[in-house]
Symmetry: C2
Subunit: 499 residues, 2 copies
């Protein structure tokens, strides 16, 4: 029979290969596929997901898992791979293959409906699909099972091991301090710097962002950098990490921030050791930890004064007319100019997590059967007013602004805030261990931080839970305090406020 690991490994590799094909289908759908191909693509993805599901739930795999769980000769990484496979096996065997296929096809048609409904400002185009989506996601959550409440089963897909009550309690610790803090800063921010509203040629933005992501360490010989309506990063296979961004002539800083944000995700994926590829431990299962990596680069590096001082002359080279006279002070203040926006992805770091709080509240209501999909547009507008202080006057900028729900990704939003909180705590720790990084960032050299993240976070892959990896680096449980302290220190200095 041979060692159990040698019999298990080809099955894990086949699973990874099918996932590679599925990820390529998904990347292609969002970045390359011609619009007319959309109706047919759902069936192709559905077929491959059904094949993945049937391989994962095969009885012979369970036998090997059971045998492997009793084998003392496995090393730590192998045991973690077995644990993650068992977790996926358990989830998959609880879902009927017909539900898996139906959800896969529904994801494509609902995403397409969203893509039509958003520009048409017409939630009714999306509503029937989304109603069915919520119904099937409830069925899926109940089939998988949960202890405290149904939402736990959804959250666990994106943040393994995390419970709804933990997330609720973090938001309860964050929101009451964040709302007044954001209000005082927004009130003191003064006039919006003019350079933020100028028009910047998209081709030049693209050339700048391509240079920037390479400068930060993204390896284009092992990845791609493209355009899609909603920026994302996907690890298709070994040495194949693809990130996207988007460009609008009026929003130069949005493109740059999105590019740095996705580069943070992409550096994490490119930092997974090659020998882990194809094993479940080589995938990042914790989206919160993933988000912490994107936020560190976007916020702690990309909006901090030292790196902005490095960036500005390079940006002036591309846009001499638009930015020629901008001072480092004004650039720093402009990049961090607080912007209360209806649009989550255009909002600043002060209000961003209030956007998440409102979405988390609505998701909880949907899955606690306290809200119907048909009432979502009004509930969204009311929650936006409560948390962010603005009321959408159309659905495009309201309930239709995000794609997440259209692809069934309920339980995903809270990982954005968890990531923000981890980022602040991890960066404090990096500075504690490495000393001040300002001088090297001012030269555009971010390599010591990258090496630190690789050694402390990336190298582990998913051998432990995201929470365990982060807490062992931070040296304690997650709290909103480092993030709140970061905001007080940065904005206090920027606008001369006592916070």
């Amino acid at each position: 029979m041979g060692m159990v690991w040698e019999r298990l490994l080809p099955k894990l590799q086949e699973w990874a290969d099918i996932n590679s094909a599925l990820r390529l289908l998904s990347w292609d759908q969002h970045v390359m596929m011609p619009p007319g191909a959309s109706p047919g693509r759902g069936r192709v993805s559905g077929t491959l997901q059904a094949i993945e599901h049937s391989r994962l739930t095969d009885h012979s795999l369970e036998e090997l898992l059971t045998e492997a769980e009793q084998d003392d000769s496995l090393d730590e990484g192998q045991r973690a791979a077995v644990r993650l496979t068992r977790r996926a096996f358990d989830k998959a065997t609880k879902l009927p293959e017909s539900l898996v296929r139906e959800l896969a096809e529904l994801e494509t048609t609902t995403f397409q409906a969203w893509a039509e409904a958003r520009p048409a400002n017409d939630f009714s185009l999306l509503e029937p699909h989304l109603t069915r989506m919520v119904k099937l996601k409830k069925e899926a959550a109940d089939a998988i099972g949960w202890e405290d409440e149904r939402y736990d089963a959804l959250l666990d897909d994106y943040e393994p091991g995390m419970k709804t009550h933990e997330v609720e309690s973090l938001f309860e610790g964050l929101v009451p301090s964040l709302q007044p803090l954001a209000e005082s800063i927004l009130a003191a921010a003064g006039e919006r710097p003019a350079f933020l509203s100028r028009t910047y040629e998209v081709d030049k933005q693209e050339a700048f962002c391509r240079w920037l992501v390479e400068t930060l360490g993204f390896d284009l010989s092992r990845g791609r950098f493209d355009v899609s309506p909603h920026p994302f990063t996907i690890h298709i296979a070994a040495s194949d990490v693809r990130q996207t961004t988007r460009y609008e002539p009026q929003f130069l800083m949005m493109s740059i921030r999105a590019s740095i944000h996705e580069t943070g995700h992409a550096l994490y994926e490119q930092g997974i050791p090659d020998e882990m590829w194809g094993l479940p431990t080589g995938d990042i299962w914790s989206l919160a930890l993933h988000e912490s990596q994107s936020r560190i680069w976007e916020i702690q590096v990309g909006t901090g004064r030292p790196f902005l001082e490095f960036m500005l002359p390079h940006l002036k080279d591309r846009f001499p007319e638009e930015l020629g006279r901008l001072t480092p002070d004004d650039f720093y203040r402009g990049v961090n100019y607080p912007r209360r926006s209806l649009i989550r992805v255009q909002s600043d770091e002060l209000t961003y997590n209030l956007h998440i709080a409102l979405r988390f509240e609505l998701e909880l209501a949907l899955f606690r059967d306290e809200l119907a999909v048909g009432d979502l547009p009004d509930a969204f507008d009311a929650a936006m007013e409560k948390y962010v202080g603005l009321r959408p006057d159309n659905q495009t900028d309201g309930v239709l602004q995000d794609m997440h729900w259209s692809v069934g990704a309920f339980g995903y939003f809270p990982t954005y805030t968890l990531g923000t909180l981890y980022a602040a705590a991890l960066y404090d720790k990096a500075v504690e261990e490495l000393g001040d990084l300002g001088a090297e960032f001012r030269r555009g050299d971010t390599s010591r931080l990258l090496v630190w993240l690789r050694q402390n976070i990336h190298v582990h892959g998913s051998r432990r839970l995201g929470k365990e990896i982060a807490e062992s680096v931070i040296g304690g449980p997650l709290s909103p305090q480092p993030f709140l302290a970061h905001l007080k220190s940065k904005y206090g200095e920027l606008f001369d406020l006592k916070l």
Copy 2:
């Protein structure tokens, strides 16, 4: 149990879906994939090909096929789908799954070796991989079986129903007339028009070719038009036909011809009725018929005087400095300026099929065990001299110039010549039925020809053999005569020769 067709259909659709994923992997590999991802991609494609193979060879499929073959209620299209599936089943069951997987992985690594060997001018980088490829292709041919000779089994993969001796006899009818014809025309051609050697900005070439392929009827809402080192067309799924071309500043006419050529392939694929997608009858199994469609648009339309008169002013708009003074006469003569080239894809329509003849001769020798892979570079140079009258002085422009062998596509080359011969015969027939097309081509209107091709060729999909479809339109067996007559008439007029 229900009707057998209703039980068979989901299996055929699943087969089509797996093929869609495989085609996307292939398109991506040649157009989008970062270079570092190459080693891992082979395993992903290999895994999916193994899954396709195991689905195709499943016992339950054979039972359904046997039942369907005895069902009188099936219509003609359904019977053809059953026939093609049986053909694929028979081929697949004769190949061991291990050989299928090994060949799939070898295709990726050999292609990669070729991509390194070609610019390095070093066949030795490719030789070990190619030696193994030829060995495995022989094993595959023998496993599938053949009557007259081993090469029949390879040829049948690209041109179902065609025999080696038929192809040999067509080349024997073609080459002795074509060689002296080409020599007289080449001798009379005079000086090479200067505009062919100018430099044309690649971005403008791209914009022109994109406009041109749309003008010819390619629907970009149901397809893509990209760049790859070797232009190709692939039908990924319903309403998802992707073609590529390539641009070099010094070769404007090559890019335009490649774009029109691939558009011919792409129009054929976009002409398959939607309701046939997902059935084996909705795939084009005859590469010769496929090539006939690309050649009709490239040669009969794209190098004929009327369409060139339409094209020239549009080309002058893009390149006023380079082409402003060019007359329609000089443009026509320049586009058709005969070019004896070492490079197949840069050669003209006179010598192109001599390039194919030499490759066919070498493939026959390899698979008749009369030639070893190690002797291929010398044999290639000798055959080039014999057929084309030139001797390569390096391997890049010699044995390494084509990718086909590196992906195991032995038996493919002769379909280029078969397609050329079909194109000439089909176009004669179109003009016989539609009357002269010159006046409408001069206005850029090629729609009547496209409709005729759709009604006479495209609409059939693969409900019959390519040979049967073509011969029923032509009204007799394939012969080299229409092609030779076309050359004599066109070049006789162009250079005032009696041919």
